[in-house]
């Protein structure tokens, strides 16, 4: 318990919507090109970071898919992501950071776009696993798994 408290610099939070019935595509969606993937990843992580920095998840919720919105409230998100605020695991640098690695984008069996990779900033390593579904022709976040680790100085 003591060491867990001491190591709260490392946290993994997963927030996935299990909504298989909704996710099944009515048509095959194309995987967005590399540039569009890059925009999706960075904007999603920055919106998440803004929410953590301000303890206000209303905007992130509003920007996510309707499937996500139907299952989560801003209050529930605030409780789930408390560890990011408590440990000040903030990563505005993701706006410009280079990828340390990334997996090839895939559409999973449920029809969701899956984007997985790692950023390294001066202070943090940020691993992300993001899932998106199409709502009215736009990719919207349906699942978010972020593992932020403070680098040793």
């Amino acid at each position: 318990m003591k060491s867990i408290r001491a190591n709260l610099a490392i946290c993994i939070v997963a927030f996935f919507v299990l909504a298989i019935a909704w996710v099944l595509p009515a048509f095959a969606a194309d995987i967005p090109d590399d540039d569009a993937q890059d925009v999706l990843i960075r904007t999603t992580l920055l919106t998440f970071n803004d929410a953590n920095m301000t303890n206000n998840y209303a905007v992130m919720l509003a920007r996510s898919s309707k499937q996500f919105q139907s299952q989560f409230t801003a209050d529930k998100m605030a409780a789930s992501f408390e560890v990011f605020r408590k440990n000040k695991l903030f990563f505005e640098e993701v706006a410009t950071a280079d990828y340390d690695s990334s997996e090839k984008a895939t559409i999973d069996k449920e029809g969701a776009l899956v984007l997985v990779g790692v950023f390294k900033t001066d202070d943090l390593q940020v691993k992300y696993n993001l899932r998106f579904v199409q709502n009215d022709g736009a990719w919207r976040m349906i699942g978010l798994n972020v593992d932020a680790t403070k680098k040793k100085q």
Binding site: D35, D38, V39, R42, T43, L46, T47, D50, A51, M53, T54, N56, A58, V59, M60, A62, R63, E92, E93, A95, T96
Partner: protein, 168 residues
């Protein structure tokens, strides 16, 4: 007592009403928190390096974009300087930036876009001034951002964004 004013311009670059409604392409919205009292420098402030300027610009514009797309400016206000917060509410911002929300001007591409041009960063009193232009496939976006240090962190004190939809 800091004095302040809200400066709002919504300009449609000479288009008539009909074409405004049809295209709603160009909007210039400026929201300045002018806090003369707080601008008097009490100590020397360094201009952040190019990388940090880049991070400030893109984060500010992305937070602004999230606010416009969601119609919820509470996060933008929460991240802004205390000088800004003392003068503007989320509701006031929503009214000021209605054109962006109404036109669903999604500026997400700015997060990875190249700069078309930019001015050298400068200090105006205590305020850091960052000015430039991005061009994406869909928009030309001119920004004029000012930041003040709150507890050693640069926080936005005014924002002026001019987004023009490019013709295809």
């Amino acid at each position: 007592m800091p004095s302040g004013w809200l400066f709002l311009i919504i300009s449609y670059m000479g288009l008539n009403m009909k074409s405004i409604r049809a295209t709603l392409a160009t909007a210039i919205v400026a929201l300045f928190a002018v806090t003369f009292v707080s601008l008097a420098p009490a100590f020397a402030i360094d201009i952040p390096d190019d990388d940090d300027q880049d991070i400030l610009i893109r984060n500010t514009l992305m937070t602004f974009n999230d606010a416009n797309l969601s119609g919820n400016y509470s996060v933008f206000v929460a991240k802004a300087s205390k000088e800004f917060q003392s003068q503007f509410t989320a509701e006031k911002m929503a009214a000021a930036f209605e054109a962006f929300n109404k036109n669903k001007a999604d500026l997400s591409d700015l997060v990875t876009a190249d700069y078309d041009s930019y001015e050298k960063a400068r200090l105006d009193g205590n305020a850091l001034v960052l000015i430039g232009v991005f061009k994406t496939d869909d928009f030309e976006v001119k920004y004029n951002l000012r930041f003040l240090q709150n507890d050693d962190v640069w926080k936005v004190s005014s924002i002026n964004v001019d987004a023009t939809r490019t013709k295809h």
